[in-house]
């Protein structure tokens, strides 16, 4: 086996710690790096930064000590603010529902960090993502992104945006293990993070209140909540508080005429109109996705049968995908519900990722638009 110079991104969690340990044990020359992503790095001194984040940096450092590798903190706060946080806010302002983890992989971990690592003499970036890279012939980079063996933890969806070139420099050492096994191994290796809880929130919104985070940055902007026929049934203080398929928190105080629950069907940021309606109006069969990235196969010349996943940890749908320049037409075999522009459509062949594109528009059987 070739010894590689590997930069292990260490978040302070159990997955990236075990990933770095495995890369080291495999004989690679590994250096650990914790990415400081706070939008105000000076707060490291003043203490305004969340204590949890300082704790994460310490956990990462202690894991590196136990593994026996050098460790540094890289300040990526400016890039993160520009490429992930501002993009997140701008996407909501457009009425879309972005996935910041995906954007962070695309723009930070496997772009800014990877580029810097390569320039500094590293061969690869190693992370604790739950996904596998399978060696295959004839595909860009010679490796194909594949789901983790742990379906509940699989993160191939948020990595599918990576190009073959990016994947050729990536290393995911824990994709062939379940989370339980990773935790068990961390304990055996004496890593203190073995029992650290999983993170669920968006890292830059530590209190989990996305709506208030967005209101602080976009300002309140009142608008109507209407039914598909135009009947006004309520009002809101900003379209950013909604995502397609949302049922809770609509603030409508009287029930629908038929007494059935209402869901967000569409968000129109210019007129600030949020349209709500019955569940079946969410059914979608046609999706237009843009900016495709094909890492697992050559760009298809015509329609292909494949599986498509339309949100993180969402179910997969059988579909026909037809690339046309920078657009992919996705025709679902069966209707799917709650499809939000801004999310990724990820195309799979079984467990292997073929490619990914960003959902731009959708339409369905119930002709909601």
């Amino acid at each position: 086996m070739t010894t590689l110079r590997v930069l292990a991104a260490m978040s302070g969690g159990v997955d990236s710690a075990v990933a770095a340990a495995r890369a080291t044990e495999a004989g690679h020359e590994v250096t650990g790096v914790h990415l400081a992503l706070s939008s105000n790095p000076s707060s490291y001194r003043t203490g305004a930064r969340g204590c949890c984040t300082l704790e994460d940096a310490r956990d990462a450092r202690r894991a590196a000590d136990v593994i026996g590798i050098p460790f540094y903190v890289w300040d990526m706060a400016e890039r993160f603010r520009d490429d992930v946080v501002q993009d997140f806010v701008a996407e909501y302002a457009r009425g879309n529902t972005p996935n910041p983890c995906l954007r962070c992989n695309e723009k930070i971990k496997f772009a800014a960090v990877l580029d810097r690592a390569v320039a500094l003499g590293f061969d690869a970036v190693c992370t604790g993502h739950h996904a596998r890279l399978e060696q295959v012939g004839g595909v860009a980079g010679g490796r194909r992104l594949t789901r983790s063996v742990d379906p509940a933890k699989d993160q191939s969806y948020v990595l599918a945006v990576l190009s073959g070139v990016q994947l050729s420099r990536a290393m995911f050492p824990i994709g062939d293990s379940t989370k339980d096994l990773v935790r068990k191994e961390a304990a055996e290796r004496g890593l203190g993070v073995a029992t650290k809880p999983d993170s669920h929130d968006i890292c830059f919104i530590p209190d989990g209140n996305t709506r208030s985070f967005l209101r602080d940055r976009l300002g309140s902007a009142e608008g109507p909540i209407v039914e598909p026929d135009g009947t006004v049934v309520g009002s809101h203080d900003g379209t950013f508080g909604f995502t397609i398929g949302q049922r809770r928190g609509l603030g409508i105080d009287h029930p629908a005429a038929d007494g059935r629950p209402r869901f967000v069907l569409s968000i129109e940021p210019v007129s600030r109109t949020v349209t709500v309606g019955p569940a079946e109006a969410l059914d979608v069969t046609q999706i237009q996705a843009i900016r495709p990235v094909w890492s697992g196969c050559p760009a298809p010349g015509g329609p292909i049968d494949c599986l498509v996943q339309l949100r993180a940890h969402g179910e997969v749908h059988r579909a026909v995908c037809e690339p046309d320049g920078d657009v992919v037409q996705v025709s679902l075999r069966e209707p799917a519900r709650g499809i939000a522009p801004g999310q990724a459509a990820v195309f799979y062949d079984g467990d292997a990722v073929l490619g990914s594109a960003t959902i731009a528009r959708q339409s369905g059987v119930a002709a909601t638009r």
Binding site: T24, Y44, I67, G68, P70, D75
Partner: protein, 411 residues
């Protein structure tokens, strides 16, 4: 570097496949310098002894004798009377005691004294103490501008004092800068302060091992020194506090040290501190000359390899610490340079150490008028008693290639 081999940069790399660095090169003596073998021996022996220096019985008397003999040695080395040596836990505590304590006592005498004068290039132990006084204790922080070399002119201090002399509580100007090594004209500054009868404190932590430092000759009211920059242990330092200065205590308790500092005296550390001070004194000016020659060669080798490297601070000479070289490398990030040198077994610093490990643009360079890019792309190399020509040559052999690589990474 025998006392370094057992504690390389990455202790006990159990599963690490990385080949051991050829021979570690330590160019970060300003952060901490190896403990002298004689200081280590004295401390180790003393750790086995019994006795609280404040106890009245035989065991206490024995410990007290060690403390007082050490106090005399330290006092003599730094132009102070034994009673003017106030032991503290280190430089940070001594700075806090001087700046806060003198601010409080001066203000208690006259509530109109609310101004604190300090340069913008002070160590964080002074800088953040002054900021805290401004935020919580009604102080007015008056930041004295430094010249591009980092030095404060006595006329700059005189002008600031003259604006409202009766309102000044305390002045703090470091003896030598911890990042760029610039030596301040402390005696002249202290004289200006004395003309206005304002207490003058100086953080002499970096100067004390390398330059002649004297409380009496400088005319300062208080000087901060610490053991681990001289070859003693971490965790012990002193405020050399002129007779007549009575700062309000920061730590309250038994009043062990002249009633201004409380806490059981750390006898083993105090004894080792004195041994290190004694050794530094014996090394004397010859050691400073040796370090200055090594440092000049380091500067020459870096410039030969990286012609556009900028030497920050004062030119080599009496205005600069003999063991300090500090450069900006245009087009580089300091933390990338540090990492690349670290991987080649060379230890240096991007500035003063930061607990969280995120590189900040140096406030010292910003105070000297550098832009943020120059402040971020800087590295400090500092020499000390264990430095040898081979250390300098090792840096000279790789710095060109390392800067080239870091430039590619910054693009």
């Amino acid at each position: 570097m025998s006392n370094f081999d057992s504690a390389g940069p990455d202790p006990a790399p159990v599963r690490n496949a990385r080949p051991a660095a050829v021979s570690p090169v330590y160019l970060d003596h300003a952060a901490t310098t190896p403990m002298l073998p004689e200081a280590l021996a004295a401390m180790t022996e003393e750790l086995g002894q019994l006795g609280n220096a404040s106890s009245l019985h035989f065991a206490g008397r024995r410990a007290r004798r060690v403390v007082e003999e050490s106090r005399e040695l330290i006092a003599e080395a730094y132009g102070a009377r034994p009673s003017e040596v106030v032991f503290t836990s280190g430089g940070t505590e001594a700075d806090n005691l001087a700046v806060k304590g003198l601010y409080w006592s001066r203000r208690a005498e006259d509530p109109g004294r609310h101004r604190v004068l300090a340069t913008a290039a002070e160590h964080h132990a002074v800088l953040d103490t002054v900021r805290w006084l401004a935020e919580h204790e009604g102080a007015e922080a008056d930041w004295l501008a430094v010249q591009p070399s980092g030095a404060l002119s006595p006329s700059g201090l005189a002008d600031a004092l003259a604006r409202h002399p009766a309102g000044v509580a305390v002045i703090s100007v470091m003896w030598a800068n911890n990042e760029v090594g610039t030596v301040q004209p402390v005696a002249e500054l202290a004289q200006v302060a004395a003309e206005y009868r304002v207490p003058f404190h100086s953080d002499a932590v970096q100067a004390a091992g390398q330059l002649p430092v004297s409380l009496a000759a400088s005319g300062a009211s208080a000087l901060t020194i610490t053991a681990h920059k001289i070859g003693g242990p971490v965790g012990i330092g002193a405020l050399l506090l002129a007779r007549g200065e009575q700062p309000v205590p920061v730590l309250h308790g038994g009043g062990q040290e002249r009633d201004v500092r409380s806490g059981t005296l750390d006898v083993p550390a105090i004894r080792a501190f004195a041994v290190a001070v004694q050794a530094a004194k014996e090394r004397g000016p010859d050691e400073a000359k040796r370090l200055a020659a090594l440092r000049d060669d380091l500067i020459a080798q870096v410039r030969a390899a990286v012609p556009d490297a900028i030497l920050n601070g004062a030119p080599p000479g009496p205005g600069r610490l003999p063991g300090n070289a500090h450069f900006s490398f245009p087009g580089c990030e300091g933390d990338a340079l540090l990492m690349l040198l670290d991987a080649r077994g060379i230890a240096c610093s991007t500035g003063s150490a930061c607990t969280a490990g995120v590189a900040q643009p140096s406030h010292v360079l910003l105070a000297m008028g550098a832009d943020e890019a120059r402040a971020r792309g800087s590295l400090r190399f500092s020499l000390g008693h264990s430095s040898e020509q081979s250390d300098v040559d090792a840096l000279g052999a790789v710095i060109g290639e390392v800067v080239e690589r870091a430039r590619r990474a910054a693009r």
